[in-house]
Amino acid sequence: MNNSTPVAGISARVRHAEHVMGTVVSFDVPVFARHEGILQAAVRWLHWVDRVFSPYRPDSDVSLLARAEVTVDACAPEVAEVIAACAFLSDSSGGYFTASPGGQFDPSGFVKGWAVERASQLLSAAGSADHLVNGGGDVQCAGGRAPGEGWRVGIVNPFHAGQLALVVAGRDFAVATSGTAERGLHIVDPVSGRPATGLASLTVAGPSLTFADAYATAAFAMGDALAREWTESLEGYEAFAITDDGATWQTSGFSRYIAVD
């Protein structure tokens, strides 16, 4: 019915904000995606993830698992997939990424980025080659906002609400930021058990949001010195950090993401 090809001009796009998983997931998709139910499909996926993985719902698979009321086999197959991925990440981050913070099984740190990336894949598979999905501050992009352009993502200034510290840009990439900018959400160093020190904010950019999110969380928990060393060693992912006292550092390949105005 719709005669438009996905022209990624600014005005042929639609924005949509969905409240799910305890945060807000923002979509920037072509008009036809909203029109043809593609967007709705991605949104339904997110709500399904919420139902299965939310630790705040007593009847979710994750809660049941945490209380040992079911086994992994009886859960949705994605649960096993998530558990396996978390195990891998925990291993490669020396334990700084964990699916059981404080001993309680809660893979939320992984699930959000993973769910958002999957939502983006749903959109791509359904024909939206250019879109952006932002799940509570973690961004997955496909294509660019216009032919020949990429997507521009601002990184929040942790000391000054409403200001940006930096703008990154690129095509087909993801950006995730860990930090303590919002009261009540502390990244705890799982090794020492106390809040991580030294960093105000750490951003990881790379092709997949699932990994970017997990790496950012793990690196932030490591604290300034360890994070710098570890992120430099990551293949295909770059990091940018803002320390407690306002200084910044970045991995050697990060400059390719910095937006040139």
Partner: protein
Amino acid sequence: MRRVILAVTGTVAGLVALLTFKTHTGEPSEAALSPAPAQAGTGSTTTTVLPAGERAVTGNVANTVYGPVQVQLAVKANKIVKVSILEQPSSTEHDLQIGQFAFPKLIAETLSAQSARIDSVSGATYTSGGYIKSLQSALDNGV
């Protein structure tokens, strides 16, 4: 001629009234769903899948540049239909609605920070409540 003037002024006045009321939003609504630590809203966690019916999302008390704010959103059919402020900064002289005056101020700060022209914002995870005051929310509302 008099009729023309009446028609024009009547239409414009009606439009302004409608739009003004739309930027000033309404009352809280029903069952809470998200991980809101024992806040307002009536208890029962519904598992009704969208788009049937409204649900309320209550945020944590968030620190804003104007003081502590707690926001409750009513969501219906994928859209935020109402925003209500449950707790407002007592020191503010401005109008209740954060969204109304904060956004222009925030956006102005953003632009002066870097003339950014950004599509999205990455930062530490915000909850639904914190979202309202976030730059991402401003972008989503098409400002």
